[in-house]
Every structure is written in structure tokens, then in C-alpha cells.
């Protein structure tokens, strides 16, 4: 949450862009793509994401919860060079908008789930989720998925995990009109061309990847970046 973090991130972004050393920089617009410094292999501390300017939210989550969701969802779908992840896709923004709208009935579910997650992390590791390194964050998520994380009543650890996973996938792959899948990040990851109104007989008979048309979203029709082969 500090100025230091924002400064560090901005530096990383500039450094990556300046060096042109990060594969996928041209494919993935947005300032976040290049800085995938959060790697379980290195055990490096995960960066806490300040919400302003860096991580999009503002409709529902407070800053602390936004940072937790951003970090959590990035571990579920981590970004890597040429492989857009949850941050690149704006999954936090998707969930934030959904909780202020279509999923308003889940607001307390998220508040309670995040409070229980925080308590579990502090009790087990004496740090909040966002302060844990990536390997530790994965341990926590695994404990949730397997129902082994203690202290959860409602939502249960498994239900909370399943719901966040579901919403992460929605934020990765739903049409960008809902605030995620930024610049078709999710569709580029898996090779889905979006809202195509038709496929030709030649398309149906092709045993290669579909690359003929631009990706099409409900609003930005045909404005997507060129598809990779």
C-alpha cells in the first residue's frame, strides 16, 4: 500500500519496457503485464498492490480486500510472459463490479470469507495473505481447497475457494464488457475468438488453430489486437 511499492512497480515496468526483454510485452497491453516478479520458485516476497492507478477496483472492495483478492486470484491464474494471468485480465475489477451489481447478494460472503482468510493467515503465518511469498500463498490456497484451513465457519474454506475460483475464471473469460478479460487477455491465453457470429465450412474443417478473424467482444467488435498464430 505504500508509495514505495508503487514506485518499485513503476520502475519494474519501465525497466522491462525499456529493455524490451520480456516476451509478450507487445501482446499484452497495460502496465501490469511485464512485472511477473511474484514467483514461487524464487520465494521472493509478493508485491502488495495499491489499488489506485495500479489495480482496478472501487465499486465494492476496500483497499485491503482488493489487494488480497488481486493476490489470491493471481495465484489461481498466474501471469507469465506470453501467458496473461488474473492481473493482466483485470479479474479483480470483474469481481469488484460483479459484487456491486449482479452478485450483490454475495457481498457478505466475500467480507466474511476474506476476514476468515486473514485470521487464518495471521494465526498460521503471523502475516496477512498479501505479505506471504507466493509459495506460502499457494499453501494457504491448497489448505482452503482441501478444507484443511482452520477457523472457517461461513463460508466454509472449500466453498470460499470454489467461489473465488469460479469468479476468477469468469473474470478471465467473460466478455470484456463485464470488466475482466482485459484486452481479451483470457481469450488470447486459450485461443478463443470470442463472439463470432459465424464459422464457415472451411473453419469447421480446419484442424489448425482458428486465426482468420479478429477477436470480437460485445462492445469492442473487431478492435482486439492481432491474434497470435
Amino acid at each position: 500500500m505504500s508509495t514505495h511499492d508503487a514506485t518499485r512497480r513503476a520502475f519494474l515496468v519501465r525497466a522491462a519496457a525499456g529493455a524490451g526483454a520480456v516476451a509478450g510485452a507487445g501482446l499484452v497491453p497495460g502496465a501490469l503485464t511485464q512485472a511477473h516478479e511474484q514467483r514461487p520458485e524464487t520465494g521472493a516476497p509478493a508485491t502488495i498492490q495499491p489499488h489506485s492507478n495500479v489495480v482496478e477496483h472501487g465499486a465494492f472492495f476496500n483497499d485491503e480486500n482488493a489487494a488480497t483478492i488481486a493476490a489470491f486470484t493471481e495465484r489461481l491464474m498466474p501471469g507469465a510472459p506470453d501467458k496473461p494471468g488474473a492481473r493482466d485480465a483485470g479479474v479483480l475489477n470483474y469481481i469488484d463490479l460483479a459484487l456491486a451489481g449482479a452478485y450483490a447478494d454475495l457481498q457478505d460472503f466475500y467480507r466474511r470469507g476474506l476476514a476468515q482468510l486473514d485470521a487464518y493467515c495471521r494465526k498460521t503465518y503471523h502475516e496477512p495473505f498479501v505479505r506471504l511469498n507466493a509459495a506460502r500463498q499457494d499453501e494457504v490456497i491448497t489448505a482452503l481447497e482441501q478444507g484443511k484451513a482452520t477457523g472457517f465457519t461461513w463460508p466454509t474454506a472449500q466453498v470460499f475457494f470454489d467461489t473465488v475460483r469460479t469468479h476468477t475464471m469468469e473474470g478471465m473469460f467473460a466478455d470484456p464488457i463485464y470488466g475482466g478479460n482485459k484486452d481479451f487477455a483470457g481469450w488470447r491465453l486459450v485461443g478463443f475468438p470470442g463472439a463470432q457470429a459465424m464459422f464457415t465450412p472451411a473453419d469447421l474443417q480446419n484442424r489448425q488453430a482458428f486465426t482468420r478473424a479478429p477477436m470480437i467482444g460485445l462492445q469492442a467488435q473487431g478492435k482486439g489486437p492481432a491474434r497470435k498464430a
Binding site: 469468469e170 478471465m172 463470432q196 457470429a197 482458428f210
Partner: protein, 573 residues
């Protein structure tokens, strides 16, 4: 509070209700149709939006406001099902369905007799309530033919008046003429499925679908966009009741559709007849329709619920229930599934209509010898996406990764990234047997948005016959995946007992008033001016999707009502 009078009131404007409205309107009867949801139009379906229609189930009932509860047995507490897969608008489930349009096999109508003749009575599980239908395939054939031609179904005949046709389903029952439209084009999943199936000696074919393969009756042919099952068709190429029979009903001048209405009671008098229905309007008003004839055609749960809710001193166990059979013999398909992924090619399964794209029928019904297998009846096998449709949300929700790959993290990302456009699912849709203790009743604890008790399902598919069959089929599916040349083949976990797709039963038809609720025309044995039309009347279910048979039965009942009952009201059978 309004009171209207009419000849016929129909509850539910879906697969059956729309056909009855059009046909009875044409016969000069005044018809009022009650529909819980809205009446949408093709223009409403322009958004090719996986989140809205597949994931958030926009065209289906809201599982929180219109709950249906389920428990595995009578001792367990029932909980609301998270997803309801039926219709909630004029046109019903045909608006969003995959449009698979099978005729049942000849032996699907007499699977009890067929089993006893071939394997002996002991082959039928002791607790199974299997009975023959009170009609034969031949009785229904003219109405299958009408449904295919009036609605618009694409396919290739496999059995033309007894002559086997290459490229069609050789196991199908004899049909009088070809399909009105040629089969839909096969996509890559169909091509590799067909090649693999032939290697194993099976007989693959393009599944018959109520989707236009070319222009028909002023509607355009399919564009293979893939936003099909779970979606309304954005060009009207899907032959839903919304774009076929409801305009016909309108044109009769005898039809009035009341949308946003909830029927909560069928009214009856002391003479033993029904007199009409009570319903809540979209404005909350409490209204009555007085009718000579009441036809119930909602999804199956609401038939049982309405009959039970409409009990009176004369009908203390609910209407049409002197047999005590209302709510019993609930059936559902289970989808046994394996995934096949290819390193050497793309499949692009998101292209084209989604449901059961290419099929084989060799393992269905009694099309193979069950001697020594430990189960009866079979399953229809086909190639499909992971879920109802082929987009990435569906894959992320419903394609379990192969053993050793987690559901999240970098390895999962890489799995999805590599295989989303290189996988297919192979599914076996099972002909589960009826059992009397698989039931629908009124939930004592859960109420819906109107304050009515929720339908409660008591059901567990995991019976010895069904478990043995699923294990047999999973082996067949794995063989198929390997024969297709897949690099990786792995199983999808089986569900925990809950009913799968295509729920049927609750108001079974039969030949004996003591053991069934309605006769072959869907007419109540107890109350001759009350009809129940739909898959709730099925005595057994077949491995095939139910809709075309619902539609054929609706045509048959409409024909009997217009030509016989109208002139001489009374029992038709």
C-alpha cells in the same frame, strides 16, 4: 382480480404447450396460455455472451427465487439445487436447448417386455418400477413426422420404411420419409469421433437436431456460431417453439398468451371435473380463468406440485391421484464422461451447435446383447464440449484436468492454454430406470418467491443397475478416445447422486388407472377434462433426449382433442 372464460387454458408455453396452443387454436377452440416467464424475440438474443446465458443462466429459472430442492433419500435433508436446467420463458426449454431431436426406439416404448423376452424377468431389478408405454412407436410415428416437418429438424434417415440408409442411424425405428432438412455439417470433433467410432465397428452419424441446416419456412440456416445450447439463437435458426408454433398460435386469432403469470391452483368442483385455474398476474393480482379443458404442460416438477397443491375434500390426495402415483418414478439422465485431448491437432470444439454433435447408437437401448453384463438398457454416446456449450468459462467450470494437474495455478493455466482448443468430451447419456421411491413432492421447509412450497426431489441414481452400466460405458468411452487418436484420455468424476439432465416422470402414463396417472393422451384417468402433456408422463426414459417425443405426444393429444374430445367430451382411452 379478474375472471375470464375460455375453452382451453394451458399452463406452460414450452415444447408441449406451444404445440397444443397452435393446434387447438386452429381447431377453433379459444385458448389462453399461461407462461411464468416473458415472451422474448430473436432480436433479444443478439448478445453472444457466455457469462450471461451459460454461466448466469439468464434463460433458465432463478435457482434462488424459484428453488427446487434435492435429497438423496427420504432420511436426508433437502437442499436447493444450484442450477436449474429448464426453460423460464415462452417457448420454454426449446429456446435455450441443444435441439437434439431423437425419435425413441421401438423397444423404448416396451422396454419391460423387451427385457423379459430377451433376458427373463429376473434381469429387471426387484425394486424397479419399469412398465411398458400404453402406446407403440408405430402409434406415434405420424406425429414424429409432423413434428419434424412442422418444426424443422435436420438429419439423415438411417431406416427408411425398413430400408437401412448409409450415414444415418441404423438402429433408428423405421420412418416414413427422410428428414425435411439434410444433416448439419460435422465440425472437427465430429470428424475425429466418426473416424474413431468406425475403427471400433460402430455406426457414427450427425445427430438429428431441430436446427436448420439450410433456409426453411422463411428462417435462415445455422451459421455455426457455437452460442447455441444455453443461448437463444441470434438468427432464429433453432426451431424453438418461440419461432415456430407460437406465431402459428397467434395467427389463429384464438390464442391469448399471458406472460409473467404463476398458476398456483387447478380449480375443481364436486362433480369431479376441473373448472379452470387460479393464477397470480405479473402485477401480483389474483385471477381466475374458467375453462372447459385444463391442460398442464409446465416442466415436470410443476405438474406434480400443482396436482398436490390443488387438493380438495373430494380429492384429498391431490388431483388425478386416486392411484397414489402422482410424484413417483422420477427419472433423469446421467452423463458418464471422458475427456480426450490431442497434441497433434486442434479440435476447436467451440464451433458449431454444441449438444451431442456426432453420435453413435450401438450401445443404447437393447441395441447390444446385455447377457452377463449385470445391467439392462444402455446409453446414447456422442461427442460434446465439457458443458452445455463450448466457450472457455464452460471448460474452466466443467473440464476436470487430467490426473496430476491441479485445478489452479501455473500448471492449470498451461493445461487450459494448451488444450482448450484441442479437447473434446465423449459422453454417454444413460437410460436410467424408474423406481417408485424416486419422487417429487412438496418441500415442507423451502418456499419459492410466490410463497409456494418448492418441489422437492428425492433421488439417487447410484443403483446397482445404473452403476454397472456407467462403469461399462466409461470403458467404452475410453476406448473411443484412444481410437480417435487422442494423446490424453481421462475420466470426469461422477456426480454425487443428484439427477442430471432431462428430468422425467411424476405423472406417468399407463394402461391401468390403478397404477398410472394418465392415459396415452395425457388425459387424467380420474378427471377427463384435465390433461397433462410432457415428459412427466413418461413411464420409462430412453437414452435419447426427450423433447421430440414430448412434441410428438403433444401433436397426438391435440389431434385427439380436436377430432374426438371436442365433439364428445369424455375419456379418450
Amino acid at each position: 382480480m379478474a375472471t375470464e372464460k375460455t375453452d382451453v387454458v394451458i399452463v406452460g408455453m414450452g415444447a408441449a404447450g406451444g404445440i397444443l396452443a397452435a393446434e387447438l387454436g386452429k381447431a377453433g377452440m379459444k385458448v389462453i396460455g399461461l407462461e411464468r416467464g416473458p415472451r422474448l424475440a430473436t432480436a433479444d438474443f443478439s448478445a453472444l455472451d457466455e457469462l450471461r446465458y451459460f454461466q448466469r443462466q439468464d434463460l433458465r429459472p432463478n435457482a434462488k427465487r424459484q428453488p427446487v430442492t434435492w435429497r438423496p433419500n427420504a432420511k436426508a435433508r433437502a437442499n436447493p439445487l444450484p442450477i436449474l436446467n429448464y426453460g423460464n420463458q415462452a417457448g420454454g426449454g426449446t429456446v435455450h436447448y441443444g435441439a437434439i431431436s431423437w425419435r425413441f426406439h421401438e423397444d423404448d416404448f416396451r422396454s419391460r417386455s423387451q427385457t423379459i423376452e430377451r433376458y427373463g424377468a429376473s434381469a429387471i431389478p426387484k425394486d424397479c418400477s419399469l412398465i411398458d408405454w400404453p402406446l407403440t412407436y408405430a402409434d406415434l410415428e405420424p406425429f414424429y413426422d409432423r413434428a419434424e416437418y412442422e418444426l424443422g429438424v435436420s438429419g439423415r434417415a438411417g431406416n427408411l420404411q425398413g430400408r437401412k440408409i448409409e450415414g444415418g442411424n441404423p438402429f433408428e425405428a423405421p420412418r416414413r420419409r427422410e428428414y425435411p432438412l439434410p444433416p448439419l455439417m460435422a465440425d472437427q470433433s465430429g470428424v475425429i469421433f466418426a473416424a474413431g467410432a468406425r475403427k471400433l465397428g460402430y455406426h457414427p452419424f450427425s445427430s438429428p437436431r431441430a436446427i436448420l441446416s439450410q433456409t426453411y419456412q422463411g428462417r435462415p440456416g445455422c451459421t455455426y456460431c457455437g452460442f447455441c445450447q444455453a443461448f437463444g439463437c441470434h438468427i432464429g435458426a433453432k426451431s424453438s417453439i418461440l419461432v415456430t408454433k407460437l406465431p402459428e398460435a397467434d395467427a389463429t386469432g384464438n390464442f391469448k398468451l399471458l406472460t409473467g403469470t404463476m398458476c398456483y391452483r387447478v380449480k375443481s368442483d364436486n362433480s369431479g371435473r376441473v373448472t379452470g385455474v387460479s393464477y397470480w398476474g405479473s402485477d401480483g393480482s389474483d385471477n381466475t380463468i374458467e375453462a372447459e379443458l385444463v391442460i398442464l404442460a409446465p416442466f415436470i416438477y410443476d405438474n406434480t406440485r400443482l396436482l398436490l397443491l390443488s387438493k380438495t375434500a373430494k380429492f384429498p390426495n391431490g388431483l388425478a391421484n386416486s392411484s397414489g402415483q402422482v410424484g413417483k418414478h422420477l427419472m433423469a439422465h446421467i452423463g458418464a464422461r471422458v475427456f480426450a485431448a490431442f497434441d497433434d491437432r486442434f479440435v476447436n470444439i467451440y464451433m458449431g451447435p454444441n449438444a451431442q454433435k456426432h453420435s453413435l447408437d450401438d450401445c443404447n437401448a437393447d441395441n447390444f446383447d446385455h447377457s452377463g453384463l449385470g445391467f439392462i438398457r444402455g446409453a446414447q454416446i456422442s461427442i460434446t464440449p465439457a458443458d452445455l456449450e463450448g466457450g472457455p468459462i464452460g471448460a474452466a467450470m466443467s473440464m476436470n484436468p487430467p490426473p496430476g494437474v491441479p485445478r489452479w495455478g501455473a500448471a492449470y493455466r498451461d493445461f487450459l492454454s494448451k488444450y482448450f482448443a484441442r479437447y473434446a468430451a465423449i459422453i454417454a447419456q444413460t437410460d436410467n430406470l424408474p423406481y417408485a421411491d424416486q419422487t417429487i413432492d412438496l418441500d415442507p421447509n423451502v418456499r419459492d418467491q410466490w410463497g409456494l412450497p418448492a418441489p422437492r426431489l428425492t433421488y439417487d441414481w447410484r443403483r446397482p443397475n445404473e452403476l454397472a452400466r456407467v462403469e461399462f460405458l466409461l470403458g467404452k468411452l475410453e476406448e473411443l478416445g484412444r481410437a480417435m487418436g487422442a494423446t490424453h484420455v481421462w475420466r470426469s468424476p461422477l456426480g454425487a447422486g443428484a439427477p442430471g439432465a432431462h428430468h422425467e416422470g411424476g405423472t406417468r402414463m399407463g394402461s391401468d388407472p390403478k397404477t398410472s396417472v394418465v392415459n396415452r393422451y395425457g388425459q387424467s384417468w380420474d378427471i377427463p377434462n384435465l390433461f397433462i402433456i410432457g415428459s412427466s408422463t413418461y413411464p420409462s426414459m430412453s437414452g435419447f433426449n426427450p423433447t421430440l417425443t414430448i412434441q410428438a405426444l403433444a401433436y397426438m393429444s391435440a389431434d385427439a382433442i380436436a377430432n374426438r374430445y371436442k365433439n364428445k367430451p369424455g375419456p379418450l382411452a
